[in-house]
Amino acid sequence: MRPRLAAGLALSLMAATARAEGGLRPYAVVGDAIPASLTGAPGDPARGRAIVADRTRGLCLLCHAGPFPEERFQGDLAPNLAGVGARRSPGALRLRLVDGRVLNPDTIMPSYYSLEGLARVGRAWRDRPILDAAEIEDVVAFLGTLRDAGTDAKP
């Protein structure tokens, strides 16, 4: 895809700009990735899987399908998550989750660790990101285990 490529170039130009906002941990974007863990520690893939599959926490399966044979209804608004850990580095997965708008300004995927540019947030959800830093790391760790687009996708 041409636009993405060019946008990727633009990204590497502003590489390594540190970003931090209201109470959230600072992080550095390098190229198309956030290489360092937000917490300084690796996440837990089992907890990450539970978050991804939970429609009220991760919400991922509203849009994505993935290797979750026990989940009957999965979305088709987004690429299948099977094999995504082989396609993307942990740092790229982290940036995609934290604020995918850096990669694609028109993305419909929520920015899970950002308070920037939001309007009319419901009272119950105000002033906090969708997932906290430890949860982001858990999800990154889980996505990293999805290595095989073929077998991952089969129940």
């Binding site: 993405r4 009957r72 088709d76 028109d106």
Partner: protein, 259 residues
Amino acid sequence: MPHPAPAVFAALLLAASAAGAGEIAPADRRSGFDQMGAETRAIQRDDTANPGMLAVADGAELWARPPAAGAPACADCHGADGTGLRGVAARYPAWDARSDRPIDLQDRIRQCRRDRQGAVPPAYESPDLLALTAFVALQSRGEPIRPPADPRLDRGRAEGRALFAGRMGQLGLSCAICHDDNWGRRLGAAAIPQGHPTGYPLYRLEWQGLGSLQRRLRNCMTGMRAEPFAYGSPEFVALELYLAARAAPLPVETPAVRP
């Protein structure tokens, strides 16, 4: 690359034009009815099975009954059987000269209750207001939605369109992302409809009851983790104006049934 800056501009332009399928052309407009399972469609089609018809029957009773001794009934001014209001629901929201603002059908009914009958207007989502609105809207069933060409409505319609297109809530979604760009796809278990207001008030299986269009919109806003607009707010009337324009000429279906 020697000239990164122009490349970035080109990329942004390309991305902007590629993003979103845009507004749905009149010929491509489809009611949410078309995406429902056969069983739910059968319930809506059969007036003896459609739970919304119970509310219509309650509405017919309220229509004929004076709110207090000596006060006129709706029927005294508008005719015994309601057919005098045929076509009205298909052209609401409309401009209200008395309050100098756009008004939707349920607020119109509340206004008559207050100003013409001297009674307390029924609360939003109360069984009485839903029943009266369903009864009045049923008179337009099958009529194509025909928003008035009144230029005084243009501003509200434009505001509604901006609300529809704007991102809101913790998830940063817009109505248009789901209902213009991704209708027909699956959001988890739910098929995303084009999001037309053709059937309201309607019986929603998830509610186990009748609800207004504003209740439906509040559900979608809560799903976006946005702060829902208040019942009767100008924002909702603006959204309703735009929704009617983007639904025309689909027919009124009240009382519809939805999952």
